[in-house]
Structure formats: C-alpha cells, structure tokens
Amino acid sequence: SAGTKPAPLVVGAMFPFTGAKAILSTWGTHGVAAGVYAVNAAGGVLGHQLTYTYADDAADPADALPAFRQLMLHHPTFLVGPFSPTIESVINQFVPNNVVDFMVGGLSTLDNNTNPNWFRTSSSDSNEATAMAYFAISHGWKTAVMLFDNSANSQGFVPPLMAAYKALGGTIQSNQVINPGASSYTSTLTSAFQNNPAVVFDSMDSATAATLFHDAQQLGYMNRPWIGDDLQSSSQGPYAAAFGPTVTTNLYAALPATPSGAGYNTFLKDYALRFGKKTTVWPTTYNEYDSIVIASLAMTMANSTNPKVWVKDVTKVSNPPGTACTNYPQCVALLKKHVKINYQGAAGNDDFNKYHNVFSGFQFLGFNSALNTHQVAFVTPAQLAATVAKESKKG
C-alpha cells in the first residue's frame, strides 16, 4: 500500500572475525558491503532494500553452528560465506532452514556438491592447481618441488597439481608438507632443493611464507620461479614484500577469473563509492559482490523473495544462454522485459556447472619493483579442461 515501504531483506554473512584466520573477515565484509551497496543504489530487490548482518564462526567448526543460528534469528533470505574451514558443519542446515548459501573458498571436497541450496562463486582450488601446472609447463619448467602447508586449503592443491603436472610431462621431485609457525625451514628447504628443481609451487599462510622465503634467500633458492596461489596475488601484499630482491622476475601468483572487463569495472566503481577510492581491494571481494548480485537477480526473475522459489533461478540468471549483462541495474532492466539474461560478473562469466561450482580461467601475475602486479599469462577454461582430459587418459 502507498506510503509503507516493504521490509528490508536480510543478507546473512558468516566469516571468522576472531582467531587465526580473522583476516578473512576483512575480505568477506568488504565484499558483502559492496554488493549490498550496489543493489540498494539501484533500488533494491523487488522494492525491498537489502541489509546485512554478520556472525563470527572463528574458523572453528564447533563455533559455526551457533553462528549459523544467530544469523537465522534475523530470517535472512540468503547467506554469504563461510570460508572453507567451517562450511561442512553448516552445509546440511541450508535446505531444512530454507536459506540459500553462496560460498567463497577453494575447498576441493565440494567439487561434486549435490546440495541444491549451495553455490560457489569462486573457482575451486583444484582448477587453480591445474592452472598452476599448465602455466609452469608452458614455460618449459619440467621439474618441480611442492611446498604446501598442512591447512585444508593448501593440501587441496596437492593431488590435482601433481596429477596435472605429471599428465603434462613434468616431474615432481619433492612434495613437502609445511608445518606452519616453525622458526626456520632451512632443513626442509635443503632436502627439497637437493635436485635443483626448475620451479617451485607453494601455498602457505603469510607468516610462514615470510620465514620460509627468508630462509630460501639465505640458501640461494630464490633464483628460480616460484608459483604461488591466489593468497599471494595482492599488490604490495605480505608475500611479495617478503620474497626479496628477485621478486620482479621470480614470483608468480595465480588469480581466479578475470578481474578485468566491464563487470569488474562496475564492481570497482561500486567498491570505491562504498569505501572511498583509496581503500585496498581485498581478495575475494568481487566473489562476494557477485554472490549478492546473482541472488538479487534470481529473486527479481522469480518475482519472489522466498528462497524455495528463487533458488531455481540462480543458474538461469548467471548461465548461458542469454543476453550478457554486466551490472545489476542493466540486468534488472532486461529481466523486467522478460529477457533471459547471462550475468557476467566482476569475477568473470560466473557460470555454475551442475555441481553449482563456477569454472573460471586463471591469470598469472608478476610483480614490479614497487610490488605492484601485472598480468603475465592467462590460462583459459578450455586449456584447463584439456589438461584434465589428459589426466584421465593417463590414469
């Protein structure tokens, strides 16, 4: 009725605000706020404004459930998060509690997900690992060592990376599990580098990386390419800072999707409007941003805010076929005209496969002496698919 505004719709966000992984909450909250800003600036969803509320899971599975219940007190229509450490302890809650979840994080155990209310807007680590292998081989680096810490995230890289690297004709000389927080990694490094590998693959937390890079410098092992995962991709980030003098030639970082193009520019504009021009664009923020836009589009298409109804439209607004659109108001306008759309988001095409995973390409970044990044190479989804096909032929 005239004069009364429809009640706002709640977005629930679940991140680790405390504990060892607290930095992830900075990423998550920035992405969510930017997404909500974008949707509200364009008039909201079906006349509803979006609001958001947070809960802290401390990256601890035993804390995740109370955090989830806290969020449910606000009757959210969908959730963003949590990251990999706690997703498994809440994933079974989504359907019975009638809420849709958009997760960001590489956990490869969910590559074959069948949960209808769960979607992942970042590419799985298994894709990233394949891309890292492809990138190395395409440069002719055929012997490698792997240095991955013991976290679930990092260990998720190991099997797909090994399989892909071998399928492409490379040899893994040594695969070391790094135990974070040690005071030195000299002995680990000396045994790993015994056979003078051409390239190094690595993933670990930044504090551990600082120690390990420092030791590797001492031992003279920084004179060859090191290929890190997306954690290492930020400009002036801790990894690049710790890498040492050879950072300009020898450090590479993989980064999912294509933070470039129209969708990404829209995101950057919204992000700057929300936080000011100077704010760091934290990793994964475009994934959370995309999650919110996609959910809002699905609700618009279904003309319902009931998750049971609109969840079926998530893949419809994001996947082909359809008219490509790269920002929320533009997409909404098309939907109003009953045009089938294919949202091209900040993170890339955002096409979900049948397991509700996106399958993006990867770019590889190098660093200049000011520690700013530049793109060195791009591995397309097609190249990844071909590599995976080779693996199964070999296996």
């Binding site: 605000f17 809960a55 601890d60 219940r69 450490p85 509690n97 490869s108 260990q155």
Partner: protein, 339 residues
C-alpha cells in the same frame, strides 16, 4: 519464533555438552589432583571416533578420506567412541602417570596434546588432516524421517538425558569410597600409597572416566556440527573448561552446570552475538575472550570455592543420622584451669 527456539536450543546443547566436559575434568583435576592439560585431546579423540564409527569407510582420494569407518548408528557410535577414548586415556595415563611429578606432568600433558594435534593436522591418511571428518551422520534423523531442525530439538533432549545420567554417575562415584580414595590421592599420593591404595591404578581409573566424559562431550559436538577437524580443538581451549570448573566450584557436580552455563552464555556466545549484531566489531569479542582470564582470577580470588561449593561430608552424612556416641571426656586430656 522457531528461529529463536533453535538458537536457544543450540545454546542449551552447548551448555549441556560443556557441563559433561567439566564434570570429567573436575574428577580428574579437582578430585584426583592430576593437572590434565591434555583434556581437550580426549574431547577430540571422542569426536573423531564418534565420526569414524558412524561414517562409512571412505578410501583416501585427493587427500580426503578416512582410514576406517563402521557405519554404526550414531546413538551407538557415541558411547562406543567414549569407551574407546576412556581406554585410550587410561593408556596415556599408564604411560605418563608412573613416574612424573606434578609440574612436569602438566607440561608433558600439554606437549602430548600438541604433538597429537600437530599429527592430526599433518597426517592426511588417517582422518584427512586439516580437512577432517565431514558429513558425520545425524543419529536417528534418518530413522525417524525428521529434518535437521526437529532433530536439533530431539538431540538436545537426548544430550540432556545423557547429561543427567552422567551427573548421577559422577555423583555416585564421588560419594563412594572410591571417590574418597581419589580425594586422598589428590591430598597426598604418598599417604594414599602407604594406606594400601594402588595409587597408580586409581589415577588411571580416574583418567579413564575423565576420558569417557570428555569423549561424550566431543562426540556430541561432532554430531551436532556434522563435522570435525583440527581447528575444532585447539588444545588451549581446555582453558575454558578449567575456568568452568573453577567458577562453578571445584568438586561440585552441580557447580559444573553453573560454570558451563555462565561461560557459554555470558562469555562465549553472548559477546559473539553482541559484537556482530550491535557493535559490528570483533574487538568486543576478543576482549570477552580476554575477560575469561579475568573472570577466572576474580573467581579464584573472591570465591575460591566457586559458585556452588563442594560440601564436606559430615559424620551425620556417613551415619545417616547424628552420631549416638557421646565423647568420653578423658580426664588426662583436659586442660586444668588454674587461677
């Protein structure tokens, strides 16, 4: 409304679980005098075993899997895991209680917990390292065809029944002559040995019971979250349980309930809720965690006996009535007042 009830029930569930956990620690630490800083290890072992017993065997693939799995019904997996954990705790006790003096034991216990925690993170063949166990089945949910929300209510009830039974058992044990031997060992284990008590055996027994209680708590946590991995049990979380015991009142079975409720509601879940809903800053939560330390200091200083103090067992308690015996005044033993 139902969202609120589910939230409330989850809180109740946590309070019950930590009541059970602190009952076990209270027996081992306050009543037997063993500084069991490795207590969370048993919580974890219980959780892992509950998962492994109720999960099917998943062969290791892409770094995920579990070395064995028995597909047992969850209601059975839990007590079975607790029994096995109890035996494990007895084994750990048997190895370490034999020779170590108390302060070494305290440190060594932490070291044992840390080593095994490290192992659980590094080793991917047994329980998938940091990925841990996932999809632990909900007991009964499949049988009764109820959804996870109804199950939450039901299982809170199940946990409560368990807790009542465990409370009664602990009460019976601590009031029994066996409980008295435990306290004698706490006060002076050398004396306990000279009066003919097999100190080592009783210490191991106490560890076993403590391990059983810890495992029940851990099993419930794993079943509620349907998953368990090394970040669920940073060994130092045991400090919270110690604080529950101190705040509740060492040696007091009902005190443990008070301690668990106080800590869970006011110092753990409460601040998390306030921080994310009203203050929008994790600082408050972090300060609340720091405040747990302060709470323990204040409690120890101003009310060392805890919220519900342990009661001394009087003569009347033992006899079931006031003693009939009248003290014979021994004339040799009275003070003769002189002018």
């Amino acid at each position: 409304m139902s969202a609120f009830f589910l939230f409330f029930m989850t809180m109740v569930f946590y309070v019950i679980v930590f009541w059970i956990a602190s009952l076990g620690l209270d027996l081992v630490w306050s009543r037997t005098g063993i500084p069991l800083f490795a207590y969370y290890l048993y919580v974890a072992v219980g959780a892992y075993l509950t998962g492994l017993f109720s999960l099917p065997h998943v062969p290791l693939q892409n770094g995920v899997g579990n070395l064995f799995g028995f597909n047992l019904p969850g209601l059975l997996a839990l007590p079975l895991a607790a029994v096995v954990t109890g035996l494990f705790a007895m084994f750990v006790g048997a190895v370490f209680m034999r020779r170590l003096r108390t302060d070494y034991l305290a440190v060594v216990m932490v070291a044992v917990a840390l080593v095994i925690w490290d192992f659980s993170q590094n080793d991917i063949t047994l329980v998938s390292g940091n990925t841990g166990l996932t999809n632990i089945p909900l007991p009964l949910a499949g049988v009764l065809h109820i959804n996870i929300n109804q199950w939450t209510y039901l299982y809170t009830g199940v946990a409560f029944v368990w807790a009542l039974a465990l409370w009664w058992i602990m009460k019976t044990v601590s009031n029994s002559p066996t409980g008295r031997v435990f306290r004698a060992i706490r006060d002076d284990s050398v004396v306990a040995a000279t009066i003919g008590k097999n100190v080592y055996r009783y210490q191991i027994l106490s560890m076993g019971i403590g391990g059983f209680y810890a495992a029940i708590a851990g099993g419930f946590l794993a079943q509620l979250a349907t998953s368990w991995n090394p970040s669920s049990w940073a060994p130092f979380e045991v400090f919270n349980v110690f604080t529950m015991v101190i705040v509740g009142g060492v040696g007091s079975n009902l005190g443990m309930l008070v301690g668990a409720a106080l800590l869970q509601v006011l110092f753990i879940q409460g601040p998390t809720y306030v921080a994310s809903n009203y203050l929008h800053s994790p600082t408050f939560e972090t300060l609340a965690a720091a405040a747990i330390g302060v709470l323990m200091w204040l409690s120890l200083w101003f009310r060392p006996q805890g919220a519900v103090p342990e009661r001394l067992k009087s003569t009347a308690w033992y006899l079931g009535r006031e003693p009939a015996l009248q003290e014979t005044i021994n004339p040799d033993l009275t003070v003769e007042e002189r002018a």
